[in-house]
Every structure is written in structure tokens, then in C-alpha cells.
Symmetry: C2
Subunit: 731 residues, 2 copies
């Protein structure tokens, strides 16, 4: 048991068994029913009610709880209008009607209409252009067809990258408005029967969501880097860097179909076609759209519920657990399914506390508000308490939506082995084996059916019998400010993968009724999540030495550096290949003159990049991590040697911060972590070693060399601090 | 100029230029308009009219022409009925209504309704099951879901393999009927606007077609191996090996949608989903279908038009050109666009003849009837004249549908270099470069956008500057009986690739009006085809030595053997991987119990296969082909040496037959070629070295070893005969 000397293992196992005995799926059902019983978006009465209810619950379970209120910019829609004005007239409904068998869907008093929070106000009438998923490569394809979006309204389908990038890129290309719709090929009748017959998005269902520029910074756009307290110094809205300038509206596929059917011009390339029964055209004909949006742009209070249980031995080491509680409408899946597991953990730990047990380290349980508009509740709290957290936080564990299926684990790699140890001790409700064994089987079967290199590599790793690798984290939930802004080690844990019979994400149909049919009918996976995170919290809180192991980190980082080498080589080879074809005039000769497509743009040659220091830093890191892991194993099996625990913990607590730099990533200094970041052009999806990787992808060769150096120096610092920890372990 | 001594090159170039001067696109337009002016399927008055018109044309151009009539089994529909009888009632229309702007589509007197020729009569009412494309892997997926087709009616979409395999496999799995429909994702509004707005299949369009068991044998099912002359000995219909036992009907997507929407049971796997705006289910619920078919099963006369021009020096060496003339309704694209190019070639050669020129070898021009039901016209002619053809035919050149685009070239590899030489001399109408240069550019651009290994390999070959490789031939047009049954060297040539703005294959909408909008509006590619094939015919007919080069053959065959090694290795590795996962119980653990999917079946281990003789035979072949090509180059640059031409030609004419064996392929002795065959489970798609390759794919290890030996012996025989030819070239 990582972090525990032999004499403490049995006690800890008994504690965790006691914890398990407190868990009751009926609690989760009761709480989910109540919390999802009314619209609970930011600023709604039920959102506040949920916070206050949780406050009372924490207190009743013996926690030192409070609500921390912040005041954030949170625009809400006043007017929304969308119509096709030429060549025919069609008015979009922009409504999600009630469905039979789902009482919640009729109970929408106080709900906001579908909208993209932080879309600009606007009143525009312009030609419509279909931009596929609205990602950078899509604009290259448009250019090859002589079509741009300047002065036009772009319509993009969901998918391919984070929603907020679609209007951002449309705006950068000169569009005056943007529509985002859910195409039924992936999100509707394509994958399965629609609600209420099945669980998938019905024709009128809309995916709401934030279009704040989260890849630049999450949190309240008016208070970057500081907590949005009542009297905080605020930017003017016009000066906020993370707010768009154009109106954006999410729409259903019922509303999108007449708009798309009205488009003329080139037929969309094969990959751009969706599941509507029409021929997808890009645009260029008479189709004109009128889009009008107006929001109310005031500050709104948000309610973070924060509960603490003071550590008996190391009170200044905090183990933090978070989940948000605000939804888009009812939010039964997202986020309440995870939030009720958090409550169940807190209840059980409270019960343990009442038996006289105390955690050695301090436990912090937090239910965040305002995650949906852009991780506002967690970010403001993290920013408000930045200095304290940097000193005290040892680990932040996040969850969000949780459903039937397989364990997903992502986060800081020194905790990979702990996650494996924990998962080996949790019984999967459906199969009876451990959730680790099921996770491993699932990943092996996925890899078996996949032709992707990374899946094949994972299968080799899994078959070698080592740990199930944890994923690197991008963004998309509340771990981001902790991990990537503050450098607090983090984990993100959930169950999913059998929920792909359903999809009503960010719509009114994300209801209690829907969740208990398609999410986790018996709350068995809610209990599994409470066990998985609860055990992890207890294991970290009571460990003799923080349960970290570094071999996975150096191996994983070495893989990242290999990927960078390969990426640069591939880019180099690609440029040569492309430019040779251009020299041969091959694209013009292969072109069909009746529907001409221009050749791709010539690519600059890829120079030799300087990865020498990075390669050396990885070697150093491998030596240092091996030395630590060896010394650790030695120290815990040699109990006669007294490890200076407090001093060691101080070094370990701070390890993750060694991976951050104050200047942050290029163009987005809020993101300080040099190993994990959301991709600038993927949004949620992670880019590892982002300073180098994205510089290569964007062909910024000097920046790639510069960040290769910065990343190498950072890894070297990390090794040196780990070497100091190793010294403490030695007799 | 391959096959020509230096002194003869200028004359030949002048002859080909003279040929070109005869070509006039107005001819093609006039003839297409006439030939496609009425339904011209087998047995129709206009089919006979077309044959008689061509006979008169050939004669008027100075050819020795005749119609050869065969009498073949050709069932035609008397009754067709399809209805959904539960859970709701829907009667399929089975009709292709006229469309605006296409006069042909109103002029359907005498047309047959959409049907699958050689479908059995039947009257069945049974549950409906969606089997995706109805290919072998699809049945594995059905089995994993606990669903079979026994006693049921299978509905398959087009694609994935030849149409006739769908009912064949359904029948093998116990189905009592089969429906085949055109899914709009690939054949309808998915790829583009439907007719008449655009060129794609409208909702009511149906793909007719044969379901004769062509992978077993093409031709009249009652007269295997012999010509279907009036008094030929015939099998009883019940004894014909290539006729199905169950009713099959092709339907439109308008008719398919209500049937598919009525299905319940498991949601179809992702790859099975098409473009209809429904959730695709596999079946298992109440959906019941009534299918009734009755045909008139008499013999019908078919009319092969065969025109000869006797060779002045080597009259017993025949260079044969063929194209079929029967269509499914009007057949403007398929086959008449190719047939009018054939006529234009014959007209131009006739004009050359009138100037006093005579071909050195005999030219044979043939317009086949009854290709659509299963290559009947060409097969019966080839079988009727088998012995003469084996002795005399030096090359058979086929065409069929022809449209705007890029040269496609397939066939016997000793003619690869000739095709390249010819293509280098034809000007592409759209770009002005040679069709060879454009073909090369097209293939390079295709490879650039592809991740397939074979495309990458082709790009390497093309960039190395050698010949554009010609493809191996499977089946699907009239080259098959010549190449694969008789062992006559063959080429199949056409232009296409810019016609993917349209698709009305085998429907009533394959009309003159449609072709001149979407096929080849100016008939420029009809002329290009006439040039390409006309030059090839003349080049072969007048060559000093048959213009064959063998390096491409040995290199290509060596690649095939490498593929066999790799295939066996991959199968071996796959079995190990799969069986390990089964041992680990991974599939059960990764299974979702609410929609359980059984694990794949365990695979037998792949033994070591004996490719030693095959590897050696390829080495021998490489040496022999190099020796021939070197000796050939020497002989033609050393004109003082008189090559014994007639003797050499006799050896060369017969080379392709060295690749055949009398016992043919396993289970289908009609196919005697050991290098090229249509796949037993792909239908039209080629399988190279099929005796070995398909044995591995079907895990018949003994058969794989046996055919590896037979193929090796065959290659060795080929080398020996080529060595004799080489001796003749030496001074």
C-alpha cells in the first residue's frame, strides 16, 4: 500500500471498509431528485437553494462548512431571434418542447432559453456559410474552394474541438455571427433512438454551453488572476480578453435543417457531411440569415460550498475534492450525478469522524458553482486562495458527470500508481471484478478494434502487466485552475462508457427522469465513484508519506518527448511531400475543372529543432525518479529508519509546481503548467508539453526551440527537487 | 516504341495520326442518342435493333461482320410485390417515376421493372433483419448479437462487395428472401444533389442487377464451359450451379425507409448506419415483410456483333476489342458510352483500310449482348470459340462505361509498359497534358490524401519515375471469360473519376439526357477512349514483335507473394491477440450487460505455411523476365539480327495461358487463372494469387500450401517458356 508502512496497512483497510458501510444508493437518488427538481443554472433560485441545502448537510455531518460567494459576469439572454430571410422564409423555434414521460421537461419555469453564454450582443443579417466543425483545417478547405466567411454568418456543427473555438475562429476569419448545431449523425437519431423512445437528442434538443475563451484563461473574464470578490478590481467588459465580439447561438437539428437545405454552392467534402437527409452544400447562393441576440450583462453572485475537516497531524496539508453543482437546466447528468457522489463521500467521512477517527491531513470538500460558463466557481476560489493553496494543497480530486461503465482516470502522473491501487480494491457493480480489471479489459478491447498507433501502444503497455496508464488532463472541468494555473497535483475520476446509449448533453432533457433510465438507474456507479474517490481521499489523508511514485511520470514524459520528435519529423516529411506535389503541378492536373479546388498552400520547410536539452532532461528525470522510487521502497521496508515525514511531504506537496513557470504558455500566461494544457486549437483536448508541441503545430520554429529549452530546464528543476526528497528517504 | 524496330516507328506514328483525324465527337453523340433512345435490355426489340444497326455500320466501314446469336436463360419478371405487413402496413412502390427534363424517363414502354435477374421465384412472409452490406463479417457481427436470418428476409444495403454475394450469403445463412437497397449516404443525397437537380440517385431510383453466382462462373448458367448455341446440351434450371434458390429484389431508398424504420432490436453498429434520417436497428421485433416474385424463365436470343479485319501478315493472331451493348433500361452510361467509342474506332480503322493500309495481325471488334445478366454474350462467344481463341488471340481489350476524368488501366502486366507508352501519346481534353501525366498526377494526389499502405507504396513507385502501374483485374465486365477462363491476355481501359458528381447506375435514369449533363457532355473523353484503345489495337496489330515487357510482371508478382507472407503473418498475429483477449475474458468484462454482445469466435492458430517454392519461383521469374527484356532491347537495336518473329509471337501469344491450370481455383474450376480472379467473397474485386490468398483468408491451411505449390509450379513454367522466347531473341 503506497505511502503506508507495513504496520499501518490493516488499519487503513479497516477504515476504508467502514467508509464503504456508510454508502447508500438511496441517498444519491434522493439528493439527485431534489437537486435536479428545478432549473439550477447560475443565478437561479434553485442553484442557491442547492448550495444552502449542501451547506446544511455538510454541517450536519460534522464538517466545518461555509458558502463562499463571488460576483462574476454572467450574461443571460433577453432576446434571441434567428430566421432564414432568403431564398425562403423560416423562423427558427429555438425551443425545447416537453416530452412525454419526462415531467421535468414541462417544469421549466425559470429556465433560460438555449444560448451560448458570453456570446456578444448583435443584430446581423448576412449570407450563411457551412464551415463543417469550424476548426482550423476546415477554413483551409474553404479557402481551397474560394469561399470565405467575411461579413457572413458561419454555421458549424458540434464536434472536432471545443465549442468556443468555433465562434472564435469564425470571428478571426471575419464572420459577423455564428450558429452551432448538433448534427444527428453523432448526436441524435444516428447513434440511437431519440428521447423519449431512447436516450438520444431529439430533433429540438439544443446543446447550450460557454463560448468564453477558456483556452486563454478560465474564470470570471473581468477578474483574471484574482478572486472575483465583491470589491475586486474589475476590467471593463470591452477590455476582457476572453469575451467574443460576435453573436453566437446554439440550435437544434430541427432548426438547422432548413438553413442547411437552403445553402447552395459547392457540395460539402465527404468528411463534412452529417446525418440530415439533405445534400450538404457549403454556401455561396442566396441563403441569408437574420440573427439577433441581446443579453443582460450584469454581475451575478455564485455560491461555492466549501467544507473542511482539519487534519490531526498535518493540518496544513490539504487534500481537496471538488465537483460543480450548477447545471444548464436541470443538470441531472451534468453535474449532479457526480455531485451526489461527493455528498455521499462527505456523509460517510462525517460518520467516520463521529467514531473518533480524524484524518491526519486536512480534507476539503467543495461543491463549485458556475462551472458551466467557464469554471468560474473553482477558478475564483483557486485565485482567491492561490498563495495558501500553493503552500498547502497536496492533491485536488475532481469529478463531474458520472454514469454506468468503466473507470476513467486522468491527472498528475505521480498519482498513477495510487489510482491503480485504489481501483484494484473497488468492485465493479456489473461484473463483480475490480474496476481496475474491468478498466484494463475495456481498454484492451478498445485497442483490439482500433487501428490507431496510440491504442496499439497502450495495449502493449497493458499486456506488459504494468499500471493502467492515467490520461493527461486538458480542460473542461474544475481541475484546470488547480492543476494548470496553480500547479496543484490533480486527478479527475469518473465512470462512463456504457452511457453511449444516450446523449442529451446541456439540454433541457438532461433530467432526473432521463438519468435514471439511461445514466445509472441503480446509482451503483454513483456508489462506485464515491468509493473510488473516498478511498483515494482517505488514503492520501492518512498516508505516512504522500503516496506518490515517479516512474510513471518519467516514462510518460519520455513518451511525450518522443512524440515531439516524431511530430517534427512528420511535419518535415509532409512539407517535402506537399511541396513536391506542388512543384509537379499535380493538384492542378488532378483537378476537375467543373468544380475546381485550389491546391493546398505551400508549407515552409521545417528546420532542425533543438531537442538536445530536452532529451538530456528526460534522461536525468528517469534517473532521478528511479532513485526516488527505489529509496522509497527501501525506506518503507526498513522501518528502523525514521523518515523526516513533514520535510519530505513539503517537498512532495510542491513537486507539481516545479512543472509550472510564471510566464506561462505563449499567448496565454494564465496557463503555467508546461506539461499539461488544453489545446489552444482543441479547447478541452489536452496538449502535452504544449509550449513545444503547439509551436511545432503552428510552425513557430523559434518558439518551439525556446520552449524546448524552458521545458528542459523545468524538468531539470523537477529532478533536482526530487533528488532532495530522495536524500531524505536515505538512512 | 515497344515492339517496333527503329525503321517502323515513323510509319506507325503517321498511321495513328491518320486514325485520329477520323474521330468526331458528333458521331458518338448521334449514336448514343439512337442506341439509348429506347429500353435495350436483353430480349428487347431495341437491343436487337442496336445489334442490327451496328452490323450494318461495321459492314459499311469495310469490316467482315456478322451477328452471332446465342440462346441463354434470361428470366424476366412477371410479378413483383413487396409490403410491410407488421407492425404497420406499407406497400413498396417498386417504380421509378419520370423526372422533369429527362424525356427518356417517360419513354419506358417495354422496360422491365427494377429486378435482380436470376433471383428465384418465391412468395414469402417473414421477419425482416438488417444485415448491413450482407458480407461475411456482417454475419459475424449478427452472431455476436444473437441474431440470425434463418427463416427470415434479409435487407442489405448496396456496397462492400458484389451485389450477388448478398443473397448468396443470406441464403447460406438460411434466409428465405433478400432485399437490396441503395442507401443515400453513398448513393443518393449524401454525395450530391439528386436527379434532376443534380446527377445523383433520386429517392425512387433502383439499382437493378444480376445475382448470378459470377464468382463461380460467368455466362449462361445452363451451358457451363460450352457456347449456348441453339442445340447446345443444357442443364435443367434446378441443376444450374450459379442460380440462387431464394427471391431477391432491389429497392429504392424511398421504399427501404419504412421497412428499416419498422425494425427494432439492437441498434446497428456504427459502421452499419446509413444516411436515412432514422435510427438503424438490426431487427428482432414485430417487423414482417411479404415478398412475392415470379419470373418468366425461358431462353432468349442474344446478339453478339462480331467484325473482323484480316491480318495481312499474321492473320492467325487476333487482337480483339470488346464492349457490351445491352443496358438495364436505356444504358446511356452503362454500356453505351463505351460502345460508341468502340464504333468510332471501327469507323476510323475502316477508313484507314480504305486508304490501302491493312493490319499485319487480324483485328476483331465485338459488341456483346447480355453482359448485364452475367457476361453472357462474351462468355458464350469465348466458350464457343475457346480452342480457336487459345491459339489465336494475342490480346483482348475491353471497355464499358466511360466518362470524364482519368485513365483507368487494368490487365495483364506484360502490357503495362505498352499502356504507358500509348497514354503518353494521348492529349487529355481538359488539361492539355498527356493522359499519362494526368493519371500520374491524379494517383499522386489520391495517395497524398490517403493513409492506406498500398497508396503510399504506389506514390513511392510513381515518384521513382517508372510506369504507372496497371491494376489487376477481377470481374464485372467482359474481359473475365477471356482472361480468367481462357488465359488470353487482357486489358480493361476507361476514363472516369470526374463523374462522381452523379450516380444513377442501373436505373431508368441512366439516360442520354443524364449522360450529356453529367457524364461527358462534349464526348471529349469518348474520343480519348477511342484514341487510347484505337492506338493500342493498331500498335499491337502492326508490331514487329508483340509489344510485351515482362519486368512489371515479375515485380508485381513478387509484390503479391510479399502480400501473402504478410497476410499469413497478420492472420497469425491476429489469432494470437484475439485468443489472448478471450483467455483474459476481456470481452465479457468490457461488455455492457444491458445490450450484451458476445465475444468474437476463437480463431485457430495459423500454422507455418510453405512458401519456399513460391519464393523461389518468384526469384526465377525475376531472372527470366530480366533476361527477356534485355534480349529484346538488344534484338531491336541490332537490326542485323533477324528475329524469328512468327515463332516468337507463338510463344508470346501463349504466355498468359501458362498462368492457368485446367483444374482452376478451389470450388470454381471455371476460373483457371492462378494470378487474377474475382474474389469469392468480394465478387468483382480482384484477388491476386487467389488460390493461396483466399485459402489463407478462409483458414484452409492445407489448401493454402497446396495452391502455393501449384502457383509456384505455374510461375516456373511461365519462366521456362519465357526463357525459350529469350533464346529466339538472341543472335
Amino acid at each position: 500500500m503506497l505511502g503506508y508502512s507495513a504496520g499501518h496497512v490493516a488499519d487503513q483497510q479497516a477504515l476504508e471498509a467502514q467508509f464503504d458501510q456508510q454508502l447508500d444508493p438511496a441517498d444519491l437518488r434522493t439528493w439527485l431528485l431534489d437537486m435536479a427538481s428545478a432549473p439550477n443554472q447560475v443565478g437561479s433560485p434553485h442553484d442557491k437553494h442547492n448550495a444552502e441545502t449542501m451547506l446544511a448537510q455538510f454541517k450536519s455531518w460534522g464538517w466545518d462548512a461555509q458558502i463562499e460567494t463571488f460576483y462574476v459576469l454572467y450574461p443571460t439572454p433577453l432576446e434571441e431571434q434567428l430566421e432564414l430571410v432568403a431564398p425562403t422564409h423560416f423562423v427558427a423555434s429555438l425551443k425545447e418542447p416537453p416530452v412525454v414521460g419526462d415531467a421535468s421537461s414541462s417544469n421549466t419555469a425559470g429556465a433560460l432559453p438555449p444560448y451560448n453564454v458570453f456570446a456578444a450582443d448583435g443584430d446581423v443579417t448576412a449570407a450563411l456559410v457551412y464551415v463543417n466543425q469550424g476548426m482550423p483545417d476546415d477554413y483551409k478547405e474553404l479557402a481551397r474552394r474560394g469561399i470565405d466567411v467575411k461579413g457572413k454568418i458561419a454555421i458549424a456543427r458540434y464536434g472536432g474541438g471545443w465549442r468556443g473555438l468555433k465562434p472564435k475562429l469564425a470571428q478571426e476569419h471575419g464572420a459577423v455571427g455564428c450558429l452551432i448545431y448538433s448534427d444527428p449523425s453523432g448526436d441524435g437519431y444516428g447513434p440511437g433512438d431519440v428521447y423519449p423512445k431512447g436516450g438520444f437528442r431529439p430533433a429540438d434538443g439544443v446543446q447550450r454551453g460557454s463560448v468564453l475563451d477558456i483556452p486563454v484563461a478560465s474564470g470570471d473574464p473581468l477578474t483574471p488572476d484574482i478572486g472575483a470578490t465583491k470589491n475586486a478590481k474589475r476590467l471593463a467588459i470591452a477590455d476582457a480578453k476572453t469575451i467574443l465580439k460576435i453573436p453566437v447561438l446554439p440550435i437544434s437539428y430541427a432548426d438547422a435543417q432548413p438553413l442547411l437545405a437552403a445553402l447552395e454552392g459547392p457540395v460539402a467534402p465527404k468528411d463534412w457531411r452529417g446525418g440530415l437527409p439533405i445534400t450538404y452544400h457549403i454556401g455561396g447562393g442566396a441563403a441569408q440569415v437574420h440573427l439577433q441576440l441581446k443579453s443582460e450583462w450584469s454581475l451575478k453572485p455564485i455560491y461555492d460550498v466549501v467544507a473542511k475537516m482539519r487534519g490531526s497531524e498535518l493540518p496544513d496539508e490539504w487534500v481537496i475534492r471538488g465537483n460543480h453543482h450548477d447545471g444548464w437546466v436541470f443538470g441531472a447528468w451534468d453535474p449532479l450525478s457526480g455531485n451526489v457522489a461527493l455528498l455521499e463521500e462527505a456523509k460517510a467521512i462525517g460518520a467516520l469522524r463521529k467514531t473518533g477517527w480524524k484524518p491526519k491531513r486536512t480534507l476539503v470538500y467543495a461543491s463549485w458553482d458556475a462551472e458551466e460558463p467557464g469554471l468560474l466557481g473553482s477558478t475564483e476560489w483557486a485565485e482567491a486562495h492561490a498563495e495558501e493553496l500553493k503552500k498547502k494543497a497536496v492533491l485536488y480530486i475532481n469529478a463531474d458527470t458520472n454514469t454506468r461503465g468503466f473507470l476513467n482516470s486522468g491527472g498528475s502522473h505521480p498519482y498513477q500508481h495510487l489510482v491503480n491501487e485504489i481501483a484494484a480494491g473497488i468492485r465493479d457493480p456489473e461484473t463483480g471484478v475490480s474496476v481496475l480489471q474491468r478498466q484494463r479489459a475495456h481498454q484492451l478491447v478498445e485497442a483490439y478494434g482500433s487501428s490507431k498507433e496510440e491504442d496499439k501502444a497502450r495495449a502493449v503497455t497493458l499486456n506488459a502487466g504494468g499500471d493502467v496508464p492515467i490520461d493527461a488532463l486538458g480542460s473542461g472541468s474544475d481541475f484546470s485552475p488547480f492543476l494548470q494555473h496553480l500547479g496543484v497535483a490533480a486527478l479527475d475520476l469518473s465512470y462512463s462508457g456504457e452511457d453511449d446509449q444516450a446523449g442529451v448533453y446541456h439540454s433541457v432533457y438532461d433530467s432526473f427522469e432521463h438519468y435514471v433510465r439511461f445514466g445509472d438507474p441503480n446509482f451503483a456507479y454513483g456508489i462506485a465513484l464515491a468509493q473510488t474517490i473516498g478511498h483515494t481521499m482517505l488514503r492520501v489523508a492518512d498516508a505516512d508519506v504522500l503516496p506518490m511514485q515517479f516512474g510513471a511520470l518519467s516514462q510518460t514524459f519520455a513518451d511525450y518527448v518522443q512524440e515531439l520528435h516524431k511530430l517534427a519529423d512528420n511535419e518535415r516529411e509532409h512539407a517535402l511531400k506537399l511541396n513536391k506535389l506542388l512543384d509537379q503541378n499535380a493538384f492542378q492536373l488532378a483537378d476537375d475543372p467543373t468544380r475546381s479546388v485550389l491546391p493546398p498552400a505551400r508549407e515552409s520547410e521545417v528546420p532542425a529543432l533543438d531537442f538536445v536539452a530536452l532529451d538530456a532532461a528526460v534522461k536525468q528525470l528517469q534517473a532521478s525518479t528511479k532513485a526516488y522510487d527505489d529509496a522509497y521502497a527501501q525506506a518503507l521496508t526498513a522501518p528502523e529508519h525514521r523518515v523526516p515525514r513533514a520535510e519530505l511531504d513539503r517537498l512532495l506537496q510542491n513537486m507539481e509546481q516545479q512543472l509550472t513557470v510564471p510566464e506561462g504558455l505563449p499567448g496565454r500566461e494564465w496557463y503555467r503548467h508546461l506539461i499539461y494544457a488544453p489545446g489552444f486549437y482543441t479547447g478541452y483536448g489536452v496538449k502535452t508539453m504544449p509550449g513545444v508541441r503547439e509551436a511545432i503545430e503552428q510552425r513557430h520554429w523559434d518558439e518551439a526551440n525556446k520552449y524546448a529549452g524552458i521545458t528542459a530546464a523545468t524538468l531539470s528543476r523537477y529532478s533536482q527537487q526530487l533528488d532532495r526528497a530522495t536524500q531524505l528517504l536515505k538512512p
